[in-house]
Symmetry: D2
């Protein structure tokens, strides 16, 4: 199946975005808008659970935010002054509506909804313990262990039950939790995934990124800190830090690709970091050329930085078709060769006879890169030099990013010279890991104490991989139920 | 909203039908056909869970069996040699897809699907105990307590866990349970609801009624006995009787209205019982008249019996429109008066100037009866005498039948003379409780030891009503989640 | 594909029903109800066009009336004091939404909607003439020739254009036509198809049958006469008879099967005619037997007549499942044998060991009859005697009834003894043509001057078959457009 | 209703794109891809009609190409070696499926499908003549007059009938016509709208723009010439020029905004023209500033040209959200103020404290411009200077572009100083009409003999406006039928 959707086929995919509102009569509408701004973090399903003082009206469905929550009657079916929302990329934790977040459960103390960005690394181990004592899981999502841990905790207060649960899990998580009294934001001790706090008039907002605040005109207050629980009630805001502080390890790939360029992430402009990476690349891997061409859309800021630093002109040598059909024709053999052109077309006047520097953010399997280079060559480029704004992606992520298995990661199996040949370029260069750190404003990577999680480049996993290394989890199936989707 | 659906608005409604197949390569197709034959037991939702040796493919949806399971691709999505199915009337245990049976859960020992006809009378009490220890309920159906009782049982073998669960519940239940190894049929100790066992070549079948066997050409073997567990495995069939035997109390209303006339229920032909009731009525409440007219369709066999016994000619004086739109026009005031004619039309040549005996099965709220009498009078009937094939329905059912609350039951609030006046008939008579028992072949009702559950007529409830009488269950809400239906 | 729909697979099918209202603020709602009452005349598509004084709001779709027009917002989208409606059996005149009536066209003089029951026998010849002069047909329905004949007529007044059109067509037609000023009812000179006029307060109503009047509480005024144009305007009602009067030839099969039993057709109760046919059969083809069993639902009145005349008891020996899934499982080979049981089930107590008289209305292909006899024999019947309430159907209809081609009509290819053997009965008898006429109150069939169209029995076609006999129309395709249905 | 669709609310809209393939076994698939590449020319409905040697399989629906034609089974339902396709913006010629092109008709000589980009200026006058002689129109589209003119032509050969039709119409049209033997491309004598001819192996292709050729890998052969009929048959290609040659007047707004930047239009790269316009603007309306910011996406090439010419740095100061929900929340009052931010977000680091040059393609009503300026000011811009890459749009288009009425065109009612004030900018400048012509490579506009149609800027309409100026067409309604959309 060809796809023209804005998530490229051959990209790493952020698996989730979360959003929550406390104290607005437009809670669900604001959440829908916030999720729309976070759509790039998960486009295949979305959900909102509101709280109206008595019930938790909910709507969770497959599709894009605008299609699911775009109509007035849907928003009106979600009344209340509090809401929590979630967007997701569908393969995370299994397909099917039962996995669409926010998850909800009725507890002895009342209802609770939870939205989770990240991935637990010991969810299976915890799940096994819970099932053995009689808990019935209704989804295959790692997030559901939070619910059963809260339900079976012997503590009385909800926050204590939540802390009890957090102490039993390992992994990356930014959570927004909603109860009858509270809206709670949580980040894991290393702060791998982002979560920010904002304010709109009298209401508080949690969002994965600042663009979720911008779209509703909310003011950015601060990041939720790594290991922090921020609890919002009618009495106001309270910060709880139940964990021993450790050096944080924010995901550096948020800067490279996941976050929107207009977001401010951990205090830094994503757009500026990307331009800086382009400059670093121009310095580290200069090449004689006639034109700098971004692979749209993510490569544009870095290409501008490269062009400015190198003095080589910037041109839109590749045009992207933004019309989004979720899927496209299962092609005949004859048509299959058309490949990438559904999304990209050469702008021939800017490529013909030129020595071209192509700027892209990463090479995962290498399939898209190969096709784009072919497109550029067919348009008559004299030379093609590929510059990548991240180091080689040689290791899978276990902290909430969908990565192919190691066998499919081109950089895990080939050196750069081989990759250049396979992709068909005259030269290929990746930004160095130190260059990448410098682009974020640091002097470079401190190997003893790195400021980011960069496991996908370095293999240095800051959280242990309990489930991944357990023998019993090979090819494990979490549920035997295979539910046919209602039309 | 006017409705033309085959469940009359003003009838008691059986809430469920169950079906199961063990050992056929057409298991899901047979189950779909069986459910189609049981459609009268629940028309608003249906589900099938199959087992293919590895997974439990499932499809559960709102609507009628033919619409949900009529297409080949749906059946092909449910492979396997074993399947369990369920039809239901939607308000039983709360609306929403999460309540559509068969329910399924992944246990430590593997998957289990369960389909339930009946109603537990202590489900809330059991649920409270389970929630307090950390069980998370995903539905509001009483049936789900079986699942959590099985999950938290300390016994090792599934059948022992099931027996452990059955010992903790009270109420009416006919169950079909499917696991990775077994298909299990169960009836409660009083056998309130029906369940039969059949055989088709090498496969075994459970069905609520024999018509479910007939449609697939299966042979009727026997009723599952009250209090019996029938377990089918590759090794064959095994009967377990974990309860102390008690005198059974089968629901007598199955004979009056619920069961299909072509079913053999507890060894007796439903059609014959209904004709017999008509004869009893003709003897008990004779009247001078010109024509016996059934209110179609359920009144036809009794009217034939009445006509034969009385010698008064039988005519189809009321014609029913079988075209089924699930709902019909929300009428303007002017149109609202058309009322019952959507379903029924007078056949004027058979009514004009005639003294008419109308035969119907019950009077619940009295709304439909009133409209039909009006229709018959407008067609020119000289006299209208209503004969009802059951005693006055003065008490609600708590064992799996949807009844209005007591305030809405006409017979609970008015004597027969008042009812006759309200309905607008010249005379009104109900079959006596003894007459009804006689029609089933007994000498009459043994007040010390009645052969049937006839609580809706007598108020004699054979199973105690734990939840109903508990003060804390007044206006109780089982879940705070209010899920918007996907389009 | 198995079907459980109320149109039996092996029946002749009336192709259409028409309805119209002039002068009610509930015009569309009344039309929806009228079409619901006429649903048996065409169940696969329905349409309503209203007139609101300025526009002609319209809704035409596939499906049943209750599904298409059951919701308030649909009715509200059809405002106005005038409406015309149509139900149809989809294969008449080609499938596809472009053939769903009422047809509508914008003329020089304004809009016009037309609903047609019947079939033109020279539509192709007329169409050819029109296409040759530049008319563009948008449907493949014969009805569309009326529109182009009206459009190209040189007369000035609409009624004159309509008469001009009627003079050029041959065939059977009952029409309801709506313009900006008028509602017009028309029957062809022979009056083959029915059309009645009714009144509800100040509004006039046209309906194919009186049941369409009954459902809305309208008073029956009279039949539209053969060859009559009844024109209703704000000034009142006007009758025009543009044709030379001829002896009418109403379709006798309306009495046998098409019309609803509670309709009064051409002054006669359909129910009474059917009982009379049963009596005729009992006299003409008496047999020693124990029980008279109707094949439901159409056989019931005749079986009652047969039982009364013969003194043999009437029993519901076959039970019909009225749950309507439009289609059902494309069966595996193993399941295919289940066949007719989806719709019918034996009531074994009434058949076992009995000599059974089965009463049905017709034998078309013979497929259903064969299956039912098999069902009755499996239930243990000692003898099976089939009695048919019409003469053998040996000739196709060209006047608005869907009949199989002659090769598929059992009676066209086999004598009665052969048919009895093929169907598997001990005896088979059809009512005589004279007996059938007697049942309608006539002394018998006057061969010189028959009172009815009985071409399907006699081969005596009262209107010549221009298109059917023209060589150029063999395998003719009316449009090359093959439109994919929108989901 | 807020909209996030890629057609901005406040843009002129091209109404159609056309595409056709002759001689490929993948004709429908290629057409679907071609329409996908032309999606920007009309996003609200699309259709394909194929020809399989016998029938014309067709599918026409509302929605985007990928959604309508993305699945294999749809493409497989359109077999054949020839196909014609169309995308449209829905309000052109009236809504409703009956207006979705390609239009099709069955003629005496066989079927014919026609796809039209442009607008006839005498369609109503011609339609009136046709209706008066008895033609029935099924749509409200101007395109349908071609069909009736062809049908009623007295010429024998199809091409002669087509020429006969063309001689009777006035206006702008690029047509692709398909018959049983031919695929025909046509441009009006002035060549207002584009149409190109391409070749893929042995098959010929017509497409509105070269991007339709690029996506399928076809080779560009040449533009269809103004006034030319290009006829493709199995015998090959034939050019017919039935009109007296006149100086062509291609639509200059195709260069400014309609065409994709990667298209080659009338021999010129659209991207280069747009960069040139930016340079012209920088020369004509220089301003002291810190940063040049395009309004994405259309403003990017011109902003690059402006930046290069002026030496002011180019930055993505405004980020666009490409996730497309066709509509979005009908907002509460509180949310309505969020406005444009659904689509655009400020990139604050590039705007704060800066003197900003904003580059956009046009100002129609001015609504979007006002919101964007507000967004930029909220982000802290010190000065905002707006530069527009077209002259003021002061006149509506009647040649196939959707323009608001003159009262709503800001430039028709205000001078530039007023506009600047209303929009809230420190300065506002439009490119001069001569500057615009220079950007296309000409020395400037030759007022005597302009090379382009620039009526929207100049009011100089090269084709007379017959229907527009006729008094009887004020508020004229083309059809009284108001069809409810099937779900």
């Amino acid at each position: 199946m060809l796809t023209t959707n804005p998530f490229d086929d051959d990209k790493l995919r952020e698996e989730c975005g979360v959003f929550g509102v406390f104290g607005s009569s437009d809670a669900a509408a604001l959440t829908a808008l916030g999720l729309h701004a976070l759509q790039h973090r998960g486009q295949e399903a979305a959900g909102i659970v509101a709280y109206d003082g008595s019930d938790f009206p909910a709507h969770r469905a497959s599709g894009q935010v605008g299609d699911i929550f775009g109509s007035q009657d849907v928003i009106e079916s979600l009344p209340g002054h509090r809401a929590v929302g979630h967007v997701r990329y569908s393969t995370a934790g299994g397909k099917g509506l039962r996995n669409v977040q926010p998850l909800f459960a009725d507890f002895e103390f009342g209802g609770l909804a939870i939205a989770h960005n990240g991935n637990l690394t010991n969810a299976l181990a915890v799940r096994d313990r819970l099932v053995r004592r009689g808990s019935i899981f209704q989804s295959t999502a790692d997030t559901e262990v939070f619910i059963h841990l809260i339900a079976t905790s012997l503590y009385e207060k909800i926050v204590d039950r939540l802390i009890d649960a957090l102490r039993q899990v390992e992994g990356a998580y930014s959570l927004v939790v909603m109860t009858q009294k509270k809206l709670i934001g949580v980040r894991d001790p290393l702060g791998v995934r982002p979560l920010v706090l904002g304010k709109l008039h009298d209401s508080y907002i949690f969002s994965s990124e600042t663009v979720g605040l911008d779209i509703v005109g909310a003011e950015f207050i601060r990041d939720v800190e790594p290991g922090e629980i921020v609890e919002i009630t009618d009495e106001g805001i309270r910060s709880i830090k139940p964990f021993k502080p450790v050096k944080s390890r924010f995901c550096i790939f948020e800067h490279v690709y996941f976050a929107r360029p207009d977001s401010i992430v951990e205090g830094t402009s994503v757009y500026d970091v990307r331009k800086n990476i382009g400059r670093e690349l121009a310095r580290e891997s200069a090449v004689e050329a006639d034109v700098v061409v971004p692979i749209p859309d993510s490569g544009v800021p870095s290409a501008l930085g490269y062009a400015e630093e190198s003095g080589i002109p910037f041109e839109l040598g590749i045009i992207r078709n933004h019309y989004v059909g979720r899927t496209f024709i299962e092609p005949t053999d004859q048509i299959r060769h058309l490949g990438v052109k559904l999304k990209h077309n050469a702008n021939p006047g800017k490529l013909k006879g030129k020595r071209v520097v192509l700027v892209d953010d990463s090479i995962v399997r290498g399939t898209t890169s190969t096709k784009i280079v072919e497109l550029v060559r067919q348009a008559g480029a004299a030379e093609v030099h590929m510059r990548i704004t991240s180091p080689p992606t040689a290791h899978p992520c276990f902290y909430g990013v969908d990565t192919p298995s190691k066998e499919k990661l081109m950089a895990a199996n080939h050196d750069i010279a081989e990759m250049a040949k396979m992709i068909g370029v005259d030269s290929l260069a990746f930004v160095s890991i130190d260059g990448l750190y410098r682009a974020t404003g640091l002097p470079g990577r401190d190997a003893e104490n790195p400021a980011f999680c960069d496991a996908c480049f370095s293999g240095d996993y800051p959280i242990r991989l309990v489930d991944h290394t357990a023998e019993e989890n090979k090819n494990r199936k979490l549920s035997q139920l295979v539910e046919r989707r209602s039309a």
